[in-house]
């Protein structure tokens, strides 16, 4: 008779552990898809050069166009409204003070930059497969320097 008690307990235990592991595994895959999207968004943003400044021989990122490009690439790569852009910054690096030491205490970012760069942080959430467990929360950070073959 005891089997009728032990078996259900075992089944529930097995179910929950496998569901928990599966959820963690899925979360990891989910995280990386977002990380790649952020990387591509900053990459696209860093390609938006200010054409007038470029004509004068300066490499400057057009902040407005950069933000548009970043938003466009995030929208194309990810589901709409599954993330929020929490931080966006264009860092203007002058060639005189290279390497430029960039520090952001709020997001805990520390970088050495050699070219003008774009920094982006998005926050996203993924519910756990087991409802009673807290959902996964991430602030995903990405950065890209200007893409160019000239110095």
């Amino acid at each position: 008779m005891y089997k009728f008690i032990i078996y259900p307990i075992l089944i529930v235990l097995l179910l929950f552990t496998s569901l928990d592991q599966l959820s963690n595994h899925a979360a990891l895959i989910h995280y990386y898809s977002y990380k790649y999207a952020v990387n591509r968004a900053t990459h696209a943003a860093a390609m938006q050069l200010d054409k007038e400044a470029l004509a004068d021989g300066h490499i400057v990122i057009d902040e407005y166009e950069a933000q548009l490009a970043a938003r466009q690439l995030l929208n194309l790569n990810l589901e709409k409204d599954s993330y929020t852009i929490t931080f966006f910054e264009v860092v203007h690096v002058e060639s005189e003070n290279v390497p430029y030491h960039y520090v952001n205490k709020q997001w805990n970012i520390e970088l050495y930059l050699y070219k003008p760069a774009v920094i982006l942080v998005i926050s996203t959430e993924l519910p756990h497969m087991i409802k009673s467990k807290p959902s996964f929360l991430w602030n995903i950070f990405g950065t890209s320097e200007v893409v160019s073959s000239f110095k």
Partner: protein, 143 residues
Amino acid sequence: MKQILVFILFASLFCWLLFSPIYKYVVLTRQAVIQQEVDFLLEVGASGRYGYIDNELIGESKKRLTSLGFNTDKLQYTITSSLNYTPTLQQRLPRGEVFIVEISYPYEKMFLIDLLVGIEPFGEHERMRSYGVKMSEYVDQNE
């Protein structure tokens, strides 16, 4: 007698409990692998040196996936761009336009085991998809 009865009662459930997580992992891993392949194709194709993803690159990609146990005939590559054509060596994608790459693969019989506990499985021809978009870096030097 009673023990055999209990075993028969629970047999399908035990089978499902033991083996279904493994199938789920195979699905997740396959999904991750084709996602990785999308990322890699974009990384190479959108770089300044290429600016295109042609059949040669896709062939190499298929070779890599075959070594991981994929069936080449069932893999489906869809490569387009924001200019609505598939970039090739002759017609590369200029800087500022985006590549759109999608790889899909059927779920096959991965969810068939769910029938044991009465969950209707995905159709055999439903496909898992991986998708990615990246901006091209290619600049035509002759322009």
